[in-house]
Amino acid sequence: MKKLITIVSMLAATLLSSSWVSAAADLEVNTPAISAIKNSMQARHNQLSPHYSSGAIGLTTDGLVAVRDATAVPLKERGGINSLVAAENSDRNALYKEIAAGNGHPEWADEIRSTFAGRWVDKAQNGWYYQSAGGWVKK
């Protein structure tokens, strides 16, 4: 009986001490690198926005954007859509990496990516497309 009590109390102590460690504060998102990426994405959004609305591009499950229906892009802009998407994705990849690194945990990048993936979709306008397990879904 005594031993059982010892075991239980030791387990409780280890659980408590580990949750102590996890009491983390907010994530730092104001490093120069993150701000630079953010500004670049903000500037690009004006160009991307009509393509979200037309369904030409959509939000992917891995926190990026992808061309969904190139025929929805006006012919004269069609050549530029791929490079627009590629530029946006390289910013997004860098953003996830920089947030993780800026907080001293480069290994968090994937979790940050999936957090963003969910939030991009939640904040997307109605009518925009996002990817789910079954394919493209119109919000």
């Binding site: 031993k3 010892t6 075991i7 030791m10 387990l11 280890t14 659980l15 001490s17 580990s18 949750s19 460690v21 996890s22 983390a24 504060a25 907010d26 994530l27 998102v29 993150i34 953010k38 994405m41 903000q42 959004h45 009509p50 609305s53 037309s54 369904g55 030409a56 229906d69 025929t71 929805a72 953003l95 947030i99 968090w108 979790e111 940050i112 957090t115 963003f116 939030r119 991009w120 939640d122 904040k123 997307a124 306008q125 109605n126 009518g127 119109k138 919000k139």
Partner: protein, 64 residues
């Protein structure tokens, strides 16, 4: 003596498992994501999507 060894192993392993699960600050990450998305998409903080019908062109008829 053997039991002490087992307890010792448990004491080391259990917090390790718990730490892996809870160490990523999911709530803080979500807050950070919201802040950045609001800025990139120029939404007002906490704003949910405006119910904006997608412009003038009926673009959602698939081509096939």
């Amino acid at each position: 003596m053997k039991k002490i060894g087992i307890i010792g192993v448990l004491v080391l392993l259990i917090p390790a498992c718990v730490t892996i699960n809870i160490y990523f600050p999911a709530a803080a990450a979500e807050k950070a994501a919201d802040k950045i998305i609001d800025e990139v998409w120029q939404l007002k903080p906490g704003e949910e999507p405006p119910a904006k019908p997608s412009g003038s062109k009926p673009a959602d008829a698939p081509a096939r």
